[in-house]
């Protein structure tokens, strides 16, 4: 899991430009699945056939978005600084001082404009420094439309790992691990689809056409969620296992799906938590999968992340492993909802 995570976090893949991530995921996944392709929008869709001989086998769609939040350059100033907008959920307050990298490895540094008060911190009052003293010199290094990403290499604390790209390469790593283990499992009656969706760091988007094409019987989304980080209002705890999301933005867990997830956690003797929140940033691909076609019952498992949506997000490998185990527990047996 750590190796997969390490590989995935350093790949350049902002929303709408996921091709490199798609390529790596495809390479990682190919040995474990029967079919894998990329659709018209860039979603990676892989399928592991089920071993059941039932006439209408149950289809499960696992989903994790593979894009990450980034900074898109909107202007090059006469002094050679870059203006930008955040694409995705990165908090502006975590940006000043952050080192960033552009597509071809162009280095940059985010800085607050002079004279900005702490309470006024916003992405519109910052710039990226690329070491250019005027517009022409800057344009040689970066142009409007380029996306810079916080430098993302994994900071290894042992069980805990930190990187700005954990939202949602951590979810992708879990799915890759599930595929790896499922392949060598004797029994997996259901057809399992692994979808790595595009543009999910912004809004539930790419997952919708993917679900429309697959028409699964059950959707299961893996994403990151806020864990308690020094404040008092959040209840998820890093290291206490995956969270079964009961309520998130535009999402309410169908009771049957919630029970399925909880039963599996108990059966596998895992520590698990519940997440009940109405915060806007908690939109997940579930909202898109649910309403595709005639509808799909969808569940969400979230990985507790301290500093979620900042450049210093931290997850626990044990939580990731437990999430994979939970999913495998569900997939190893016939599913009844």
């Amino acid at each position: 899991m750590k190796d997969t995570l390490r590989k995935l976090v350093t790949i350049y893949g902002p929303s709408g430009r996921e091709a490199a991530v798609a390529e790596e995921i495809t390479a990682l996944l190919r040995p474990y699945v029967d079919e894998i392709h990329t659709d018209a929008l860039g979603n990676v869709i892989a399928t592991l056939d089920g071993k059941a001989t039932a006439p209408a086998p149950f289809r499960v769609m696992l989903c994790a978005h593979m894009d990450q939040s980034g900074l898109i350059v909107t202007e090059v100033t006469p002094e050679g600084l870059l203006r930008f907008s955040v694409v995705g959920r990165l908090r502006a307050t975590s940006l000043p001082g952050q080192r960033v990298l552009g597509l071809s490895g162009t280095p940059g540094l985010v800085r607050l404009d002079d004279g900005v008060e702490v309470r006024d911190i916003a992405s519109g009052k910052m710039h990226i420094e690329v070491g250019a003293s005027d517009r022409d010199a800057a344009m040689a290094k970066a142009r409007p439309g380029d996306v810079f990403l916080p430098t993302a290499s994994l900071l290894d604390f042992g069980d805990c790992q930190s990187s700005p790209a954990l939202d949602n390469r951590a979810g992708c790593a879990v799915l890759v691990e599930v595929a790896r283990r499922l392949k060598s499992t004797a029994s997996h009656p259901s057809i399992t689809h692994f979808v790595f969706s595009v543009q999910g760091a912004v809004d539930p988007r790419g997952a919708h056409p993917a679900a429309y094409g697959l028409r699964p019987d059950l959707g299961l989304v893996v994403d990151v969620a806020r864990a308690k980080t020094g404040g008092s209002k959040i209840d998820l705890i890093l290291g206490q296992g995956p969270a079964i999301r009961i309520r998130g933005d535009n999402y309410i867990a169908p009771p049957r799906v919630r029970n399925l997830l909880e039963k599996a956690a108990i059966e596998a003797n895992l520590r698990y938590q519940f997440e009940v929140t109405a915060a806007e940033e908690t939109a997940s691909d579930a909202a898109a999968i649910e309403i595709a076609g005639a509808g799909t019952l969808t569940g969400v498992l979230t990985l507790p992340a301290r500093g979620c949506w900042t450049t210093s997000a931290t997850v626990s490998l044990a939580d990731l492993e437990a999430t994979a185990t939970l999913l495998l527990t569900i997939l190893k047996a016939p599913i009844t909802l």
Binding site: S15, A40, L41, I72, T74, R83, P144, G145, Y212, A288
Partner: protein
């Protein structure tokens, strides 16, 4: 340079009246313009006007929306004044002191306000909320007003199209009649044997990209290019990137907006073609708001989509300004893009 009949079409479209859900006038002008031009023309259930040209293997949707922002009659005051609501994202500051046209029969009306002499100091500096404004058509009673209008009737700005100079034009509804001109011109002037080209004049974009979603579903194109108008704030007191785009610098290619990150290859192809042919072009700097591409790309199993816009000043206001050079360059770039698809030079 634009042909005179293209400018004439823009003039007709600018003065035509089409609010979200009530685009009939615009539809009629476009139908008349395109009839007999080797396209199959029809209207779908939600009111999109679809023109299909060609039978080639690559299905392309070229889209512009017919609806503009404006007002709707919502009720009456006993005195005969009309109450109204806003349709689409109109800036309420542009309403007082306006001439308008009400309903299908284009009854003349005005939106007035209290004489400034009668205001006290503090009121003079405040924006008048839309709720305190009325439309006056000269009716003296509620019954009289209700006899010549109906709740739901559209209300338009009485702006005439005018050419301010060789290149700059003024009119209402450039968002998105300029796009409609690009699509119509493309259908009239060009043939693409390897494409099935769907010229889609969509409805209800201003209230949520509604028509385009429906069209993309039933047409199931391989890719879609939306032509819209975008805000140019290249005016005093605004610094980049808030200026977003500049009049005279060519079509503004979108990077992303609030509904979609544009398809990278399509976007890059537009830039490549513009550079190769020496066409002025720019990026739209704003990353908010939405265009039909956002409604199109998630239909069925996904449709690669991108938006290209004609820069316009004062975009959701009664009188917008645009450059005919920008319009002409947008037409040219759209054609180059379709041509590159047709010739197989560009594939997804």
């Amino acid at each position: 340079m634009l042909r005179p009949d293209t400018v004439a079409l823009l003039s007709r479209l600018s003065e035509a009246c089409g609010l979200a859900g009530d685009e009939g006038d615009v539809r009629a002008v476009l139908r008349e313009t395109l009839e007999g031009q080797a396209c199959e023309i029809y209207t779908d259930t939600i009111g999109n006007l679809i023109c299909r040209k060609g039978n080639g293997p690559v299905r392309v949707m070229l889209d512009a929306h017919m609806d503009e922002v404006g007002l709707v009659v919502a009720g009456y005051h006993d005195s005969g004044l009309l109450r109204f609501k806003e349709s689409g994202g109109l800036d309420p500051r542009v309403l007082p002191g306006r001439s308008v046209l009400v309903g299908r029969s284009k009854i003349s009306g005005v939106i007035g306000t209290q004489a400034v002499h009668l205001l006290d100091r503090s009121e003079r500096d405040k924006v008048i909320p839309a709720k305190e404004l009325f439309i006056d058509i000269g009716a003296r009673s509620r019954d009289e007003a209700a006899s010549v209008t109906t709740p739901g009737d559209p209300v338009y700005f009485a702006t005439r199209f005018e050419r301010l100079s060789d290149t700059i034009v003024k009119g209402k509804a450039f968002d998105d009649r300029v796009g409609c001109v690009v699509v119509a011109h493309t259908l009239l002037e060009h043939d693409y044997p390897d494409l099935t080209l769907f010229g889609v004049f969509s409805v209800q974009e201003e209230v949520g990209l509604r028509g385009a979603r429906v069209a993309a579903y039933h047409l199931a194109p391989h890719l879609a290019l939306a032509i819209d108008a975008t805000s140019s704030a290249d005016v005093p007191g605004v610094d980049p990137p808030a200026t977003s785009s500049h009049l005279g610098q060519g079509p503004a290619i979108s990077l992303l907006d609030g509904t979609i990150v544009m398809h990278q290859k399509m976007r890059e192809q537009l830039v490549t073609l513009a550079e190769r042919h020496g066409l002025p072009h720019q990026y739209r700097r704003l990353t908010t708001a939405g265009t039909d591409a956002g409604g199109i790309f998630l239909q069925r199993v996904g449709v690669p989509a991108c938006t290209m816009s004609v820069p316009c000043r004062y975009i959701h206001c009664p009188a917008s300004l645009a450059s005919l050079d920008d319009l002409s360059d947008t037409i040219r770039l759209a054609h180059l893009f379709l041509e590159s698809l047709d010739k197989g030079e560009f594939t997804l």
